[in-house]
């Protein structure tokens, strides 16, 4: 069976549109059953991914009404409004700090954790299972739990700190802009560690063990083994996982919204919580669409450049 995609790909090189169409219809006529089976997933994908995406892109370049419908072509008017928004610069900076801060911290914490869990020790299996705990609950629920832990009057954290005489006052964790920002990063890191650690662990376990023997015989100490063997062998996984984490952190809503809703004074907002506010609080859907579109384009460019740069390094 020549797949439809193959025909389209080959069509680009040689045939005229007419022959491509003929080959496509023939392919569908002769092999319709597999394509029939694909229809449900294509429909779901179209309804849940293509339609919202298209709607966002259209909305970004349209004048919208108060329920988000595009009513007229707007050109770049939404982007102009977005740039004039008085919070957008600080939101952008916060988003970048939130994303790269949390991803960097997650990498720095997950790698040693994976190295430890990769050792053989009594209870290693239990430790690996415990690691998955943050994953066991839906993130929105965990974030709400963390909000209660950080609560200044009723929270467990202040209770513990006060009981141990580490602090006297009841620290306003989520009301102080800097502390609140640190708290949302902390929870983001806490929730990202399991995935990253598991991925690193998988990567570590796929490293051929004999290269460590060879390195030892060649004169390597533990530091050389890590730096010259483990790290280069993990490079691919680190690249992929970091890329995914950056994309996910950019889209992070389930941590910030349940914990702070971007408060105090937009100081813990990221682009996603802010665009939610633009669209559903202020009902300025056009600006929301524009911010969503800008984030999308930024991530697209980031992904392409990031993989290109790191691949070229690999030679």
């Amino acid at each position: 069976m020549t797949a439809v995609t193959d025909i389209l790909a080959s069509g680009r090189k040689e045939s005229s549109p007419e022959t491509i169409w003929r080959r496509l219809t023939r392919e569908l006529r002769e092999n319709h059953f597999p394509y029939l089976l694909l229809i449900p997933s294509i429909l779901c994908f179209a309804a849940l991914v293509i339609y919202p995406l298209a709607n966002t892109i259209i909305g970004a370049f349209a004048k919208t009404d108060t329920v988000g419908r595009a009513v007229d072509f707007g050109g770049l008017i939404n982007f102009r409004d977005l740039i004039r928004d008085k919070y957008i610069l600080s939101i952008t900076i916060q988003t970048v700090i939130f994303v790269f801060g949390s991803v960097a911290l997650t990498v720095v914490l997950s790698l040693p954790l994976a190295l430890i869990l990769n050792q053989r020790f009594p209870g290693a299996a239990l430790a690996r299972a415990l690691l998955l705990m943050p994953w066991a609950a839906p993130l929105a629920i965990s974030s709400m739990t963390w909000r209660w832990i950080f609560h200044d009057q009723l929270g467990a954290l202040n209770y513990v700190l006060n009981s141990l005489n580490i602090t006297q006052a009841r620290t306003a964790w989520l009301s102080d802009p800097v502390l609140a920002f640190a708290c949302v990063i902390f929870v983001e890191v806490w929730s990202s560690i399991p995935f990253m650690t598991i991925m690193f662990l998988a990567g570590l376990q796929s490293i051929p063990p004999h290269i460590y023997d060879a390195a030892k015989m060649d004169g390597a100490n533990s530091w050389h083994e890590f730096w010259d063997m483990t790290l280069p062998q993990l490079k691919r996984i680190i690249i992929i996982v970091t890329l995914l984490s950056v994309i996910w952190a950019f889209r992070s809503f389930n941590v910030i919204w349940p914990m702070t809703q971007g408060n105090p004074f937009f100081r813990t907002d990221n682009s996603v919580t802010y665009l939610y506010k633009l669209a559903f609080r202020s009902l300025t859907f056009g600006k929301g669409y524009a911010l969503a579109f800008a984030t999308f384009v930024f991530l697209l460019i980031f992904s392409v450049v990031y993989t290109k740069v790191l691949r070229s390094e690999e030679g």
């Binding site: 060879a214 060649d218 100490n221």
Partner: protein, 372 residues
């Protein structure tokens, strides 16, 4: 001066004894082969010498220094692994250069030495490739290069040829022998292949179930095996073995077997260990004879030259292996290929009375004196 000494070396994994009181001295510049079936402890012994396994009890001395507690990097030993163990993320040049980089060798010297080694091994055209782009033989050369580039005191080679195809194996075998002779560095080589052991080793240590069976030059092991295991492990096809009893015929000692009464030469008789000299009429033995020490013809059958039936003839070009049945026993004889007997033919066997091997049926130890 002996460079490597293992003294009462023991390695236990839990309750399993992998290496059981191994004692061996490896001389300076010697090519020593550890050989034995899988799981006999030869690789574990090698890895202990290299420092990749801890020693449970016993001592390892290199140049008179006890190295039990030294890390591999402090022992100045290079090792070649069965699966080559090249670093997949380094190109060939960097693979060979790695041990020098770890020693902070100046860049220009690294360049010079890597190139020299690459030339010696014929891999200079591969220096810019990744290990995954190399064939098995090329990878093995690179692994050898990585070992020799830094002139270590000792080479350890752990079945380095077993992943290569038969033809390449023979070729690399010769290259390693040449290399070792030229460099003159003490080498310990582990293999399960007795042909490799026989062709490569100055001396061979045969191991079984963690214990040393015999240590000696290849021809000593072949001609004077210390026990039945060594006798049958070394040599292909394996030595024939059958039960017998030492008896006397007219004052001459013979081996009485199911199929005949085999004479023993005076020379052989003189080598019978005095404490085990047969009490008349009743010394059970296991008698061994190598396939090339059985001659076949159509002479008249006597008790000393019994009759056998030819089951199968396997021609090998120069030689032929002839499977023979005598009573319930199957023997293999090796004859020149130009006049092998026909299958199903009846032939007369002559077992060379000077080349019989006698073993205790219980301990399986040889009953003959070994050469000093």
């Amino acid at each position: 001066m002996s460079i490597v000494v293992c003294r009462d070396l023991v390695k236990r994994f839990g309750t399993m004894v992998a290496v059981d009181h191994v004692n061996v001295e490896i001389q300076d510049g010697e090519f020593m082969v550890f050989v034995g079936p899988s799981g006999c402890g030869k690789t574990t012994t090698l890895r202990m010498i290299g420092g990749l396994e801890t020693v449970t009890t016993g001592d390892i001395l290199i140049d008179g220094v006890r190295v039990n507690n030294l890390a591999p990097r402090q022992r100045d030993i290079a090792m070649v692994f069965q699966n080559y163990a090249l670093y997949p993320h380094y190109k060939v040049f960097d693979n060979i250069a790695y041990p020098l980089r770890l020693r902070k060798t100046p860049k220009a010297e690294i360049e010079e030495r890597v190139n020299a080694v690459a030339r010696m091994l014929g891999v200079q055209h591969l220096l810019d490739r990744w290990p995954r782009q190399l064939s098995g033989g090329e990878r093995q050369r690179v692994a050898l290069g990585r070992a020799i580039v830094r002139n270590p005191k000792l080479y350890l080679m752990d079945e380095p040829l077993s992943n290569l195809d038969a033809k390449l194996r023979v070729q690399m075998r010769r290259e390693i022998i040449h290399l070792q002779r030229n460099l003159g560095t003490t080498t310990i080589y582990v293999t399960h292949d007795q042909v490799e052991a026989m062709t490569m080793g100055d001396r061979i240590m045969v191991m079984r179930a963690g214990k040393v069976q015999q240590i000696g030059a290849p021809e000593v092991l072949y001609n004077h095996p210390a026990n039945l295991f060594v006798a049958q492990f070394i040599g292909s096809p394996a030595m024939n073995a059958f039960k017998g009893r030492l008896e006397t015929d007219d004052g001459k000692i013979v081996v009485a077997t199911e199929f005949g009464r085999l004479p023993i030469s005076d020379q052989l008789l003189a080598r019978l260990k005095p404490d085990r000299s047969p009490t008349l009429g009743a010394r059970e033995v296991i008698c061994g004879v190598r396939p090339e020490d059985i001659a076949l013809d159509d002479a008249p059958v006597t008790p000393a030259s019994p009759e056998a039936q030819v089951d199968l003839v396997e021609g090998l070009g120069a030689d032929a292996y002839v499977s023979l049945t005598v009573g319930s026993i199957t023997l293999i004889a090796r004859t020149p290929a130009d006049c092998p007997p026909a299958e199903n033919q009846r032939v007369t066997m002559h077992l060379n009375p000077n080349k019989l091997h006698l073993f205790d049926p219980v301990t399986e130890e040889t009953l003959l004196e070994l050469p000093k």
